[in-house]
Symmetry: C2
C-alpha cells in the first residue's frame, strides 16, 4: 500500500469514527492497515492469524466488531461465496468487480461489467431504495476439463478464495 493510500483510508476511518462518535483506538487503525496491506479475499480467522503473526495483540471479538464498522464506513466489502464463511476485501479505490466461482475447484475469478450499474438503477427506482452495495456471483462449470473430468485449475492447490 502506498503512503498516499494509507493516509487516504485512515482519513476516511477518522471521519467515520468522528461522525459516529466512536473512539479512535489503535486496534482500529492496525486492523485497517493489515487489511489494506493484503491483496485478495480474507476471512476473519485468516485476518486473526495474519495479525497474530505481525506481533499484534488482538482478539477475534475485536475483529468481528470492527469489520462491521469498516463495512459501514465503506472501507471493506463482504462476500459470501456459497459457504457459511464471510469473506472480505478492501474497498477503497478498487474497481468494482464481481465473481465467478468454479463449481469444481471452488476457485474464485473476477470480472467487470458496467451493465450491473444499469440493473442497479432499475432496481433502485422500481423499489424506491438507494443501493449501498451489491454482490453478484456466478456459479459455473469450467469448459476445459482434464482427462479425469476435473477442471483445469484443480491442479492448483491454493485457491483464490
Amino acid at each position: 500500500m502506498t503512503q498516499e493510500t494509507k493516509e487516504a483510508v485512515e482519513k476516511i476511518l477518522i471521519d467515520y469514527l468522528e461522525k459516529n462518535k466512536h473512539r479512535k483506538t489503535s486496534e482500529r487503525f492496525a486492523i485497517l492497515n493489515e487489511i489494506y496491506s493484503y491483496d485478495g479475499h480474507f476471512d476473519i480467522e485468516g485476518l486473526y492469524v495474519m495479525m497474530k503473526n505481525m506481533k499484534y495483540r488482538v482478539s477475534r471479538a475485536t475483529l468481528y466488531n470492527n469489520i462491521e464498522l469498516l463495512l459501514d464506513a465503506g472501507l471493506v466489502i463482504k462476500h459470501q461465496f456459497g459457504k457459511n464463511l464471510a469473506q472480505f476485501e478492501k474497498a477503497y479505490k478498487f474497481k468494482q468487480h464481481d465473481h465467478l466461482i468454479c463449481n469444481d475447484c471452488e476457485k474464485v475469478f473476477e470480472f467487470c461489467d458496467p451493465r450491473i450499474m444499469q440493473i442497479q438503477k432499475m432496481a433502485e427506482d422500481m423499489l424506491n431504495f438507494d443501493v449501498s452495495h451489491h454482490s453478484l456471483n456466478f456459479f459455473a462449470k469450467c469448459r476445459v476439463l482434464k482427462e479425469n473430468g476435473i477442471c483445469e485449475h484443480k491442479k492448483n492447490i491454493e485457491k483464490t478464495v
Copy 2:
C-alpha cells in the same frame, strides 16, 4: 401446488436419481413435496419444523443431504442474504429473479432484469465457463423513512426472508 406441477417435479427428481444411481427414498419425495408446497424463502431449520408439524419423521442430517441433491438436480436454488444462514427456494417453473435486501429491516424484495443474462454470457465467454446459476443481491437503504428514521417496512414484524 397443482397436480401437474407435482408430477413434473417428481419426474425431474426420478430422472435425476436414476441418472445418478441414487435411491428413490420416500424421504426424498416428501421433502420435495414440502418444498414445493411452500411459497417464499426457507432455511433448513424452518423446513425441519414444517415437516415435523406435518407428521413426517425426518432428521436435519437428511434435510441437509437432500437439499444438496435437489440443488444439483436444479429443483431448488440457494441464497445467502448476507448472514451465515443458507436460504432456499423452489426453482422449477419459477421465473428467474434477483433480490434487494433492506439494510434496515432486512426484508427481501424481488425484481427481474433480463440484462443479467447478458452479463452472464460475457462472463462465461471471457472466463470460459458455463454458468449453472447466479446470485445477485443488492443491499440498500429505503428512500422512504418514518419520523424515527426507520424504514417504512419496519412495522411489519414478519420478514419476507
